[in-house]
Amino acid sequence: MRAAYYLQRSAQLLIVVFCVTFGCSLLLQLIPVSPAEILLPVGSPEERALLTSEIGLDRGPIGYYIKWLGEFVRGDFGDIYYSGGREAVSSRLAVAFPRSMWLMIYTQVLALAIAIPLGVWSAYRVGRRTDRVISNVLFALSSVPSFAIALVLVLLVGVRWQLLPTLDYQPYSSGIWEHFKHMIMPVVSLSVGLIASYTRLLRADMIATLREDYITMAASKGLSDRRILWRHAFRPSSVTLFTSAALNMGGLIGGAIVIETIFATYGVGFEVFAAISGRQYIALQSIVGLISIFYVLFNLIVDVAAGYVDPRTRDRRINA
């Protein structure tokens, strides 16, 4: 039964990936001029004809998609076309992807590490001054866009106090401190909004959970508040939080363009922007396909994890 459920979920997710990538490939067919003309604006008619055939644009929408998909699953994400040659999209992504992954992971870790205790504490102290202070501060923070936080950080931490570099990304190979030094401000900028939203989500779920009969039972049995909060209330209250976190993971990989631009970390978001502004449609299709895979993958992971965190969720879904 469970295996069938997970297979069904996987199939659904594959359908999502198919719809996204096929939709993208159709967009290429809908462009009023030949994509080869766009990709090779100064190329000769022969070069364009060769490119059209090479990409598979002469095979019709379905034929083109099948060709693209076949190459995509083999790790060939197509090329970025220049006036004098080309470059594999995969080589660009090999640089950009780790940057976005680290940015996403650190952001999530920081956001969850702060939001979970805050949410639990806020729910525990619901209605009291601590809860009101936390709620109001978070409400204020959630209304500040990440780029504004980034600019304030740059101005204070980078320019005025000169504590951290304001630009560039450094890999681990440059030294762990160098790596983190360059990641702190982008991560904090992205985390603030997430901390606010995660805390509020968790707080709401925790408040509802703390009103459940089994919590009253646990308290009447003399269990400590800490044990009740963390062992009995937090687990079932965290499903919404982790679902939200999973959705944000996909978003952070491809959607942190503003922060990437401010701090010059240049990850996948910038590659999406570059593909759009440079009309590199093949590259765009592959990058969007890849991002959609991450979206559905993270959602699948959370679905599976949610079943273990709160088995009622899984059972409800299986029986539905």
């Binding site: 766009i38 604006p41 100064v42 190329g43 000769s44 008619p45 220049y82 006036s83 004098g84 040659g85 080309r86 470059e87 660009r92 640089v95 600019l151 740059v154 101005l155 980078g158 320019v159 000169q162 951290l164 570099p165 304001t166 630009l167 560039d168 631009t261 401010i262 701090f263 010059a264 240049y266 910038f270 570059a274 759009i276 502004s277 440079g278 009309r279």
Partner: protein
């Protein structure tokens, strides 16, 4: 009171003295007392991305500065505007200026270890003019095919010399060979390297490629670089440079102030506030280029409404250049009085249409009488760029005042460029023309850069479009075109200037295009950056300290850690 007045004068004198010293230090910074130090790396923030390095990949402004650390040019421009041999060692011309013998400097190596010789020069010139493209050996020359269309033959005459034959006499052929710093000395292995031409730059410059992406170029010292400093020490001094594309001005400014960057480049187009802010910062030196860059409003003479002179006149009269310059440029640069600036040989105020609202309305009314339609046109701007939108909106305001309807067209930069060069827009703003000479002016205001050569190699090919593709106003004006070719053939400098001036007057009178204000560039660097503008050229004289492609990094060094 008298005392105060005297004191005031002293203060004024002191302030003026400080200002004079400060301004001189910005014009010609010097660290002559210090011995250049070898080693260290620099981080440079730029405002252009890297579209590639092949013939058709036009590196723009600040990314051109970065590209020029890898590449050099056959000739170089001195501060007085004269073009002198650089990777070439000598240039000779026939008395009719139709044959040019170019001799290559011995001992210069490309980064791949191959020598720069006559074969390399032939490969470069043939690639630029499209001859190798026709043979299927090299990628498209792009707009370079139009720039070099006056060349009819490139003949190797010895292992180190090449003769270039021209269709029309051209006194300033070396300006064409320089192309405002854009015609690089590329290794034949790059040009003929197929798919890697755009992504693997191989030049002769002081630095060589480490890695390149759309947003970044990392270069390292070329240990076998051919130039030495005046004391005989190896050049360059720096171990490496990282150029990072930072589209946000604020990122470049904060990068400098936080020491994440050592150098950053700016443009007067929308970044005046930041340039002025940096000029006040005691930890920075800010140098500026001359106002030798001339953004144009191109009016497409081939299609309605600007196929009508009345329409062109209406728009040209409607633009309040002084107001625009105050509002958009904060008076940092000059409002235009000619389609090119005073430093250019073609500068002529005669015939230039200045702001006159009444005449604008009259011309718009005349257009309606002529065509039965209200004057209306579309004008593209860069989507997502607040500066571009603000500039377009400001122009739209003037048009509205004159009763002209201007529709704003938000497009990506790529779309704008793609549609600009087949001349598909009714009107557009774009900076193309620059410099003191005409190599980067004439191709944009002539309809046939081959000079009417019916046997030119591209004539019967699809690449023939390149002859006129650079003229975004898409006009054919035989009067101005003849004057330009006559000027190019005229050895007497005064007569040449007069002929160019007449051509400018003709274009301005016909309102083929117009200009609102001129543009310049600025480069700010931290106090640990030394040697900027100090290294002279091999044949004597100095380069221009600062241009649209920034500075030369060959003699730059870094003090401290």
């Amino acid at each position: 009171m008298k005392h105060l007045f005297r004191g005031g004068r002293r203060k004024v004198a002191a302030v003026m003295a400080v200002a004079l010293v400060a301004s001189l230090s910005q014009v010609a910074p010097t660290s002559a007392a210090e011995t250049p130090k070898t080693g260290g790396t620099l981080s440079v923030g730029i405002f252009d991305s890297f579209p590639g390095y092949c013939m058709a990949d036009n590196l723009a402004n600040s990314s051109l500065m970065a590209g020029r650390t890898i590449y050099e040019t056959w000739v170089e421009q001195r501060v007085d505007g004269k073009i002198v041999p650089y990777v070439l060692s000598a240039v000779e011309n026939s008395t009719d200026f139709k044959q040019w013998k170019l001799t290559v400097r011995p001992g210069v190596l490309f980064h791949d270890g191959t020598p720069v010789n006559a074969d390399a020069l032939v490969t470069n010139l043939q690639a630029l003019r499209g001859a190798l493209t026709l043979l299927g050996k090299a990628p498209s020359p792009g707009t370079a095919g139009g720039f070099t269309a006056n060349i009819t033959e490139v003949i190797k005459v010895s292992d180190s010399a090449v003769q270039v034959n021209l269709y029309r006499p051209q006194v300033d052929f070396l300006e064409t060979l320089y192309a405002s710093g854009r015609f690089f000395v590329r290794a034949p292995s790059q040009i003929l390297g197929g798919a890697k031409c755009s992504t693997t730059p191989i030049g002769t410059g002081p630095f060589k490629l480490v890695s390149t992406k759309l947003n970044e170029l990392v270069v390292t010292k070329n240990a076998s670089y051919w130039r030495k400093d005046p004391s005989g020490a190896s050049l360059p001094y720096l171990d490496g440079i990282t150029f990072t594309f930072l589209v946000e001005t604020a990122s470049r400014v904060s990068g400098l102030k936080s020491k994440s960057l050592d150098i950053a480049m700016f443009t007067s187009a929308g970044e005046v506030k930041q340039i002025r802010d940096l000029q006040k910062n005691k930890n920075m030196t800010v140098i500026e280029s001359p106002e030798e860059y001339y953004p144009s409003i191109w009016l497409n003479n081939r299609i309605a409404p600007f196929s009508s002179k009345n329409a062109r006149l209406a728009v040209s009269y409607a633009i309040d250049r002084v107001d625009y310059n105050k509002v958009r440029n904060r008076d940092y640069v000059s409002a235009a009085k000619s389609i090119v600036g005073p430093a250019n040989i073609m500068y002529n105020e005669k015939g230039f249409i200045q702001y006159d609202l009444k005449k604008a309305k009259d011309a718009a009314a005349a257009y309606k009488t002529e065509t039965g339609k209200d004057l209306e046109f579309s004008f593209p701007y860069t989507a997502g760029s607040t500066e571009s939108l603000a500039n377009a909106t400001q122009i739209q305001k003037y048009m509205t005042a004159a009763g002209i309807k201007m529709n704003l067209l938000p497009l990506t930069t790529a779309e704008i460029i793609q549609r600009a060069f087949p001349q598909q827009f009714q009107a557009m703003a774009l900076l193309l023309m620059e410099g003191a000479g005409t190599a980067f002016i004439a191709p944009f205001i002539t309809s046939d850069t081959s000079g009417g050569n019916q046997t030119h190699i591209l004539r019967k090919t699809p690449l023939a479009v390149l002859y006129g593709i650079l003229n975004l106003s898409a006009f054919t004006d035989t009067v101005s075109e003849d004057l330009i070719w006559q000027a190019k053939a005229e050895p007497n400098a005064a007569k040449r200037k007069a002929l160019y001036g007449k051509a400018t007057q003709q274009i301005q009178t016909e309102a083929r295009l117009t200009t609102i204000s001129y543009q310049k560039y600025a480069l700010a660097y931290r106090t640990n950056v030394k040697g900027v503008g100090e290294l002279g050229l091999t044949q004597g004289g100095q380069r221009k300290l600062m241009t649209n492609f920034g500075i030369d990094f060959t003699g730059v060094w870094k003090s401290g850690k």
